[in-house]
Amino acid sequence: MSAAMKRRDFLKTGAAVGGGLLVTLYLPELAQAGVSAKPSDKLKSVAPATFAPNAFIRIAPDDTVTVIVNKSEMGQGVYTSLPMLIAEELEADWSKIKVESAPVDQAYNHTVFGMQLTGGSTSTASEWVRFRKAGATARMMLIAAAAQDWKVEPQSLRAENGFVVHTASGRRASFGSLADTAATLTPPKDVPLKDPKDFKIIGKPRRRLDTPAKVNGSAQFGLDVQIAGMMTALVARPPVFGGKVVSLNAEKAKAVAGVKDVLQVPSGVAVIATGFWPAKLGRDQLEIKWNDGPNANLSTVGMREQYATLGKNPGLIARKVGDPAKALAGATKTITAEYEVPYLAHAMMEPLNCVVDLRADRCEIWTGTQLQTGDRMAAAATAGLKAEQVQIHTTLLGGGFGRRANPASDFVVEAVQVAKAAKVPVKVVWTREDDLRGGYYRPMWYDRMAGGVDAAGNPVAWTHTIVGQSIFQGTFFEQFGIKDGIDSASVEGAADLLYGIPNLQVDLHTPRIGVPVLWWRSVGHSHNGFAVEAFFDELAHAGGKDPYELRRALLANQPRMRAVLDLVAQKANWDKPLPAGRGRGIATHFSFDSYVGQVAEVSVDKTGAVRVHRMVCAVDCGQVVNPDSVKAQMEGGIIFGLTAALKGEITLEAGRVKQRNFHDYEMLRINEAPEIEVHIMPSTENPTGVGEPGVPPVAPAVANAIFAATGKRVRKLPIRLVK
């Protein structure tokens, strides 16, 4: 998902698809059955002793406060930060908080996007008001319950650490003991929220609730789900995207002990077995003749040529300011450069998987997904059921990075197809090879940049031609993401350049290529951040300016970004010399409504091997909920960005993906991880994204640092200086 789906567009359209800010006051179980009950009715019939003031909170007689979280936990810490919002307003005892993943229901829809999903670095921003209101509503009802029981005025009571307290007498009742009475009350309409200066939980570091289960092996990911009668399936998919089975000989596969069946499904051939290993052995024995289809000759080398040819001419204009052609012609000095980045796989540590129990009248699914509403609709259509007959249990996600938010619902639809064919409950498991060769990559991009400076070295012109596939095209997000032929995700981080350059043009070519693409942590910003910030460095040097000072000057109207830039420069000792052989590079990037600046410190040895010694990061993401989570996301974003800068590359030859596993699609390892310092800008602005914004500045900061250390420009990722 991309922040490029501009919030204003969604605010307009969100209401039409059932979004908007709603504190929905009915229980999900009833809602799924199509019954919109008032809280009091449903509480009597469903859970008499439990107080469930809204879809997000359940308070039990034993004082347990269960927070039902509608966002998928994929490492970003939402199972802690979102409960913090509720606990703050509820005045809950943090030790009593438990977390449950939400079922699929419109009560849990994204407040802006209008469907249940986790993406666009929006979880905190979008739930900032709703979750606090949910907590405040519950608190007011608990206070009202105590007031009724004790026959006192609610104003004489306060909530404190899981209790309602009568201030004058000191009389106390735990939340759990008030659940029964509270459940009979009508929720208040007007729910005031705390003044931020009174926050006790928000803004203070808090340990994650999911850590204990993640250090003793008890945390349950999709791959860990086992249900009665379940078989394991591996699917042989075509070696070329869009290929089809011509003929199949399954004899040898069926002879493997533990293989129960071999079935043709729309995506390929499924081997159904008693476990992963026999399924894999069976799949290895399949003899399949494929028709490779239209992509049989696709190669990334050929695509690169095609992209470069397209890039010679401007594409559809995404943004134009002034007269860049004239300004370039009149500039004292002009430079041009080509930037390029490859396809990238998400490579979550937990490969894709999906458990499906399909019956005549219902379908139950267990999977780690970021896109519950879409997956449920797609599963229902595939199974021939109504959406409400499909139940999705969202497990923990062993990494997401966008791959588990696929509008095509590929891994869910396929699993339903396999279950339909196999007529038994199945767990479809993807191997690492399947994952890396399965498409839905970050698109490959080519950027042609030109810039001009005046006699004083100040930039007067900037043009940026972008060439690459559209992510939104052909998805149900298309109407929001594409306007006048421009996919906002293709130009985000480029068309919204913050620097004050008087003449500017950003334009786009969108070739259609048969490789499936998808959002990948930071989406369009992942390539535009590199091209823009590295070329900016080139332009600064062309004009004889310090890259930090020039950024500063051109951010005069961007106070938040300028403050972040100053902070990171100061923390990284920008003005102090480094030992010989080391170089420092700076980059900033605005994405997902957050401002990030980074300084990389690198050295390059005689063989050309790059060592990143230190990364300093400053971030302004508005009001912080859990500072330690923000820090962790910046650290993680930096490592993720370094893997892309130094390692990642998916290439195709004769339509086939060349990479197979972690030996040839490498990840940054601990011995290559730099020292990382994160500085958070204090702010009382509304919270903005943190999951993705740490990624875009990494590659340009490193590239700029390499230039500082060696005088060599890096314009292509991954960085390969080794001779």
């Binding site: 003793n216 945390a219 990911f221 791959l223 086992q226 937990e350 996600l397 601990i670």
Partner: protein, 157 residues
């Protein structure tokens, strides 16, 4: 029938002797804390101990694990009391958490053999374990912290 000693218990598994230990642990014995990440000893998510050595269970034939002491993440401690588990919780190392069983099992062997590992020792011992979420800085920090906890006889203070 294959007999295995896992986390101090004798367990039987009716499996092909060539099956990787990983799948026997996960699917036959229900010990799902040990993870699959690559199937070719590249990522370390499947790390367990075999007679005290860190091995990649995705490439270890189950037949070769018979007669040996197997320890999985579930057997690291019964109650989250291992110095590494304490340090991991104190520093909040995990993000998605998927690779962390393997990280902890690799770190446990390092700590058993080296009571005060340096950053270099850590890098050397932990290079086989990939973390896509990028928790490496915290893993380093937590291993140092665990060494401290261990030096104080398991007392976290």
């Amino acid at each position: 029938m294959i007999t295995l000693k896992v986390n101090g218990k004798q367990l039987n598994a009716d499996v092909d002797p060539a099956t990787p230990l990983l799948w026997v642990l996960r699917e036959t014995l229900g010990l799902t804390g040990t993870k699959y990440g690559c199937g070719m000893a590249q990522c370390g998510a499947c790390t367990v101990h075999l007679d005290g050595e860190a091995i990649r269970s995705c490439v270890k034939r189950v037949a070769d694990a018979t007669g040996k002491e197997i320890t999985t993440i579930e057997g690291l401690s019964p109650d989250l009391s291992h110095p590494l588990q304490r340090a991991w919780m104190e520093i909040d190392v995990p993000q998605c958490g998927y690779c962390q069983s393997g990280q902890l099992m690799s770190a446990a062997v390092l700590l058993a053999e080296n009571s005060k590992p340096t950053d270099n020792d850590i890098d050397e011992a932990m290079t086989g374990n990939i973390c896509r979420c990028g928790t490496y800085p915290r893993i380093r920090q937590a291993i140092h912290r665990a060494a401290e906890i261990k030096a104080r006889g398991g007392n976290a203070k």
